[in-house]
Amino acid sequence: MNMESSPTASESAQARPGPGTMMQSSGQFSTFFVADLFFGVDVLCVQEVLRPQQMTSVPRAPRVIEGLINLRGQIVTAIDMRRRLGLPPRDGMQTPMNMVVRTEDGAVSLLVDEIGDVLDVDAATWERPPESLDPAAREIIRGVYKLPDRLLLILDTDRTVDLGGGVPLSANSGIGRQ
């Protein structure tokens, strides 16, 4: 599941319909880590970042939903990014951070391992996600910025929170399909 090496391996990525061109011009990204992956979300989409919150689990909900949190009276659904990406669970000691993003359906909290800096990136380093990427991840990753020391994966938040029209997914499938 090491995706960091894949982008360079497939320079010949074919055209994929998506909002790629628009993203290339955008400047700043809030970054975070999920396992060894380095993600970015358009800074304008991020509402706030919270320390671990008290979580109410939702029985019968899709597995990617960790639970509900009370965000100043607003009930916000928390999605576990590890499960959303089909990654192994984080070890017991690690408590996930809440990255609350604004989506078409209101605020949703993404549970991530660690919060990074806000980065300015060079639009010229943009590239579409490689075809060889795991389908679970490719669906929600818009593209990749090739930073000098690592790759920044840009997350499509609307797709991330869309679990297929609210229909519960089967317990085994970590990723919703559209």
């Binding site: 109410t56 939702v58 029985p59 909900a61 939903i65 009276g73 607003q74 009930i75 209101g106 029209g165």
Partner: protein
């Protein structure tokens, strides 16, 4: 953008004005000389006309212009008012509404030009007053209205107008004697825009509208109010936390401040709640018009009394009850109140009376719609239910009048025929009921033949803040809306196991003599069960018209909760109605009682549905056999599959009578033959112990026939996979098996019932009667169990233990249906299927495969194998249903035809 905003404003204002117009026009009909009323109507029309011209809505402008001309003639005393003219103006109002709706939908006026209406309006306005009235009243013959003089009309207003509106919300009939000309001389155009009043419910309270009234009200977007409500809810929670904090510290300053915060918050909450409240009169406003139109159309006289129009309700609820209310009122006028001559013959006043009442009671709002009409003919309802196939005649006869009355809420009860049938009510009552229930309300109906019908609706004050019961299950907190809650039951200690019994695979509880199906919340939600079950807490819930018990780990307390919606990701989960934030700031889920009921399968309508989506765990439970254990004579442990049992009953010895040479008991208005099991199993041996009183009876049902088997004692319901099996040669017994680590004898039910001389398994003429079924199943024990089910359903069963047996049987005699176990030696039922396909005379015989588990029935390999159906071994109902289907498709002589119909 600017335009859009203006148009939206115009629409909002016009709708408001129009709804008031309806009411005012009907009142005007009653008080044709009410100048202030006429003035107000004129101004409203004028305002709409003016704005239309400004916004270039030409159709609308044309219509309203002509109406305005008519009204100004009326106002100036140039002509007399009569019902036909009122109808014409009301029609204009309707046309205006249609155009407004078109504008709202598409921003344009729409295709319809209302040429005829315009022409009629124009004609009415041009003609001399008397001729105009005659022209306009062409549809309704009312010559006296044309010729009558002013004084005459005044003296007998009731005969001229079919509708009388009186309302305790203030029907001061203002300015009856006002001078019309004086009022008319004021400049209506100038005061026109001021008529938009937020409070349209009590327009009669002031004789004339002053600008002060308009200035005292402002229009506020609903979105803003909702947002305020949310914030207040949040403030309430924060307040709760501060108060908790305060009790931990003993700081007088903090104490004083938090008390003040407490008071202010409560007051603010109340205030904001009020902004969302609207008087129910908002909905009632349009009812006089509805009543008038129906009464006129049907030639009836209806007096509408409204009481409690000022009763306030949350606006979301007002919105939701609008249509059901109109529907009920329409029903009352149409089907409830009789025509004048019928009423007179029945000794009533010719004018029917329709009463609307609204009042607060116990945190809920009650609305009653009553009429003094003919009432509902319960016998007709019964008859209708039978005609519609909703009930069998004997079922209908058994219903109490009250139960029969409730039939009108059944979907499918209302049909086009019922609409034209004046004796019955019930046009779309199921829709009314479902609408009311959607907002947590309850509908009740009471009717007395000849005296009238009253429909009573109970609805919550608001949907935003509801009382709920907080419960714990699997370590999580949940809230159950109090409206669905009937009672709490706690079963203590050892007795708890005995209280919950199992019938037909469903756990049940005997609640005051009737069986209540039970669901376990931990199972429904897949939560971890807590081991420490020293007591069972059960919440009795009502969803739609069904009740069930929900077993939870703990019951905490009741609270007022603020309902919040769930995110899109969780919308598809039927178990939850929303979420709320508890006093400690944590989120708790609100259970959807209907969803829980359906999910757990305690509500029959959804059984198929829940089967389709049910999880593996639930399926595993299904595959286990549920066995009823009991004792009779010297047999300490007898068993029958619970799937064959209809009910368990107790009858006192005194209830047992003798009839036709056997023992019988009166049971549910019928005669239930009793068979004493001890006498069947051990004929001639006298009872060792005294006959128990009451006697324990296991009731077996097949369609509408029942038989009761008297046993000495019901022992238990076991739920396990039956393991060791041994066939018995003894009459009345199938064989023995180990149940609960003890040897248990299984009853051959068919034999027992036949031995008692009951011609139980003789055909009834249904699709099953006399059909020969070949049952190919390796285990003789299972065969016996399945066979008893088939025998009881009237099939003639041939048995086969393996493939060769089966083929031999097929060769020896004609067979209509084949049931074969998937594990039939040596190559399974597919081998039998293949063998049958090879012989043309057998290829048409439907083959039902029997699987060990329900998971197997769903598997793709089985589905594509070509079986006509596949069922699990011990699901008797499903198997019989499937067989009935297969045999129905089977034309008696033509097997080939059945083969062609195998897709079904």
């Amino acid at each position: 953008m600017q335009d859009q905003e203006v148009i939206r404003e115009f629409l909002v204002e016009s709708y408001e004005n129009l709804s008031r117009l309806d009411q005012e026009l009907v009142r005007l009909e009653k008080h044709p000389k009410d100048a202030a009323l006429l003035d107000s109507i004129f101004r409203t029309i004028h305002t709409i006309k003016g704005t239309c011209g400004f916004l270039a809505f030409s159709t609308l402008e044309r219509i309203t212009h002509h109406a305005e001309t008519l009204l100004s003639q009326l106002r100036d005393g140039q002509r007399e008012l009569d019902p036909a003219l009122i109808s014409l103006i009301l029609e204009t109002v309707d046309a205006t509404r249609t155009v407004l709706a078109a504008i709202e939908a598409g921003g344009e006026e729409g295709q319809e030009t209302f040429d005829t209406l315009t022409e009629r309006l124009r004609a009415a306005a041009c003609l001399s007053p008397v001729a105009a009235a005659a022209e306009a009243s062409a549809g309704h013959e009312r010559p006296e209205a044309v010729h009558s003089q002013e004084g005459a009309r005044r003296s007998e207003p009731d005969s001229a107008a079919p509708v009388v509106v009186s309302s305790t919300s203030g029907v001061a009939h203002p300015a009856e004697s006002a001078k019309p000309h004086a009022a008319a001389s004021t400049t209506p155009a100038a005061s026109g825009p001021l008529v938009a009043r937020a409070d349209a419910s009590r327009p009669e309270e002031e004789g004339s509208r002053s600008s002060a009234v308009a200035d005292a009200n402002i229009r506020v977007g609903v979105g803003l109010l909702d947002k305020l409500m949310d914030l207040v809810g949040e403030l309430v929670l924060t307040r709760n936390q501060i108060l908790q904090f305060n009790t931990e510290r003993e700081d007088p300053a903090l104490n004083a401040t938090s008390q003040r915060l407490n008071l202010i918050t409560s007051e603010l909450q109340e205030g904001v709640m009020k902004t969302r409240m609207q008087p129910i009169g908002m909905v009632w406003n349009k009812l006089p018009r509805v009543v008038r139109d129906i009464a006129l159309a049907l030639g009836k006289q209806v007096r509408l009394d409204m009481d409690g129009a000022e009763t306030e309700l949350d606006r979301t609820i007002i919105e939701a009850i609008k249509d059901p209310l109109v529907h009920l009122v329409r029903n009352s006028c149409d089907h409830g109140i009789e025509s004048p001559d019928v009423r007179v013959r029945a000794g009533k006043a010719p004018q029917g009376r329709l009463t609307l009442r609204a009042y607060h009671e116990g945190g809920q709002v009650n609305i009653e719609i009553g009429d003094d009409g003919g009432g509902i003919n319960v016998a007709r309802v019964r008859q209708k239910a039978v005609e519609r196939g909703l009930l069998r005649p004997e079922q209908a006869a058994k219903l109490s009048d009250r139960e029969a009355l409730y039939l009108i809420f059944q979907p499918g009860f209302s049909t086009a025929e019922t609409v034209t049938n004046m004796s019955g009510r019930g046009v779309g009552m199921d829709v009314v009921k479902s609408h009311i229930e959607k907002i947590g309300g309850v509908v009740d109906i009471a009717s007395r033949a000849g005296e009238g019908t009253t429909v009573k609706i109970k609805i919550p004050l608001t949907l935003a803040i509801i009382p709920g019961l907080v419960i714990t299950s699997g370590g999580e907190r949940f809230v159950i809306p109090q409206v669905s809650l009937l009672e709490l039951i706690r079963l203590d200690g050892d007795s708890s196991d005995k209280h919950i019994e199992h019938v037909h695979g469903t756990p049940v509880y005997r609640r005051r003599g009737s069986l209540l199906p039970i669901a376990y919340l931990n199972n429904v939600l897949g939560l971890k069960s807590s081991e420490s079950a020293d007591a069972v807490n059960m919440v009795v819930l009502q969803a739609e018209d069904r009740q069930f018990g929900l077993v939870v780990d703990g019951i905490n307390d009741t609270q007022e909760i603020v309902v919040k919606p769930l995110g899109k990701q969780l919308k598809g989960i039927a178990e939850y109605a929303g979420a709320t934030i508890m006093g400690d700031g944590r989120v708790a889920l609100i259970l959807d009682v209907l969803g829980i009921g359906q999910r757990s399968g305690v509500m029959t309508e959804s059984r198929e549905q829940s089967r389709a989506v049910s999880d593996q765990k639930a399926q595993k439970e299904l595959e286990q056999q549920r066995i009823l254990l009991f004792r009779a004579g010297s047999f300490d442990r007898l068993a029958v599959p619970l799937s064959l049992v209809a009910r368990l009953e107790e009858f006192p010895q005194s209830a047992i009578e003798r009839a036709g040479g056997g023992q019988v008991v009166q049971y549910r208005n019928r005669i239930l033959p009793l068979i004493c099991l001890r006498e069947v199993l051990e004929p001639g041996i006298p009872a060792l112990e005294q006959e128990p009183d009451p006697v324990q009876v296991v009731v077996f049902n097949d369609g509408d026939r029942s038989v009761g088997v008297v046993v000495d004692q019901i022992l238990d319901v076991a739920e396990e996979v039956v393991t060791v099996r041994q066939r018995s040669n003894r009459a009345g017994l199938l064989g023995s098996a180990v149940v609960g680590k003890r040897i248990t004898d299984f009853l051959d039910l068919n034999c027992v019932i036949n031995s008692a001389g009951d011609n139980w398994s003789q055909g009834t003429g249904g699709p099953s009667s006399g059909r020969r079924v070949l049952l190919a199943e390796p285990s003789s024990f299972s065969r016996g169990l399945i066979r008893s089910g088939l025998d009881m359903a009237g099939y003639r069963v041939l048995e086969a233990g393996n493939l060769d047996d089966a083929i031999r049987q097929l060769e020896q005699q004609p067979v209509d249906l084949v049931i074969a176990a998937l594990d039939l030696p040596t190559d399974g039922s597919s081998a039998l299927l293949a063998a049958m396909r090879l012989r043309p005379e057998w290829s048409g015989i439907p083959l039902l495969a029997l699987a060990e588990s329900s998971a197997q029935t769903q598997s793709e390999a089985i589905r594509s194998a070509g079986f006509h159906d596949c069922q699990t071994k011990f699901d008797r109902e499903a198997m019989l249903e499937s067989l009935a289907r297969l045999s129905a498709a089977l034309a008696p002589a033509e097997r080939a035809a059945a083969f062609a119909g195998k897709e079904s």
